[in-house]
Symmetry: C2
């Protein structure tokens, strides 16, 4: 067994900066990712925790332009429905938000969780089968940080109709759609979420969401 | 706006090591965490992405010994049910797995996702309300890495009955239980998951779970 690494204060400070400067990116430059970058990021993401070592993440690189167009149409329809559901006093602001970088991002990645996998032999899933989905979320969160450490941005698109996405991408019915991700070099970097900069919402003190029992 | 940080090759290599040496820990030393450590880790976790900046994570530090005992009993019952559901040829091995560090870990943390929060004004949730839960998962995955960078281990306990946990911890009904986490200093460190060391399951090549469409 190799010697366990020690992480020093300098690394921890840089890691805290990585967390603070990770962003949900919606404005991308069009330059492609470097060769091999997405495969390397997916390999790092695969070090994420998974329930019972089930590794239920299923990454789908969406390269076909017709499929990308279908995704864009699905987003437009889902976003129109989401706009219609906004309170009247916020609808005008909502309509002006840029919520996805589907036109410019060079890399489109969809993520599914395979609920039917027998990998892991059911360990940890019996009373909480949703841990399969949670494992896939841990993988994309890991990928997000690894990407940011390379200067690569990611934007999570959830304004989509999950059943339609599975159809567009022709994946098995047992795969649960987790999210669609635009990946590429960001136009700009920031330590403040766009939702906060635009006044949509602000972050609270972490202590507000900590209870003791 | 502060100047965006640059992450160099040395940081990226250390971050890859952090991912490789993160473990699901079930064997803890009994020493308490340093003062302020859990609050600091929760503050870092709160830098995680959340849908619409909804920050739906609700951290519950479980300090009361009677509640901890009730959690242990719930685990024992859920684990007995999970054992009964194992295939006969694997049940003997399953029974020997140590799946939680509830007796020794000095810090017990439960995590819920508040589905009823109006924070974020619904942005990103209309067609995929489960993104509320996914945001909480991103927070705990972030906390896990931040803890490991300080030499602190975390074990995710999912062998629990979610409704009962919400009752034991007396939290609002709208809060969805995400997971229960044992946190403390690990007895040992390793770069290989315990499930893999014990022959329960092995990791596959990441490329196996990557498709192109």
């Amino acid at each position: 067994m190799p010697l366990a690494p020690r992480f020093d204060n300098e690394f921890r400070a840089s890691f805290a900066l990585l967390l603070a400067w990770r962003r949900d990116v919606r404005r991308f430059r069009r330059d492609p990712l470097p060769d091999g970058a997405i495969e390397r990021l997916i390999a790092l993401a695969s070090l994420a925790p998974s329930v019972g070592l089930s590794e239920p993440w299923r990454f789908v690189l969406v390269e076909d332009e017709k499929r990308r167009q279908a995704i864009r149409r699905n987003f437009a329809a889902a976003n129109a429905a989401a706009l219609a559901a906004q309170a009247p006093e916020r609808a005008g602001t909502y309509a002006q938000l840029k919520l996805a970088g589907l036109d410019d991002a060079p890399c489109h990645l969809a993520l599914f969780a395979d609920r039917s996998t027998e990998k892991g032999h059911g360990a940890g899933r019996h009373s909480m089968p949703e841990t399969i989905e949670y494992s896939a979320v841990a993988a994309i969160n890991t990928l997000w940080l690894a990407a940011r450490a390379e200067g690569i941005g990611l934007g999570w698109v959830s304004i989509l109709e999950p059943e339609s996405i599975a159809t567009i991408l022709d994946v098995p019915r047992e795969w649960k759609f987790i999210g669609y991700f635009c990946i590429g070099f960001p136009e700009a970097e920031d330590d403040t979420p766009e939702f906060e900069r635009l006044g949509w919402e602000k972050r609270e003190k972490p202590s507000l969401f900590l209870l003791r029992r």
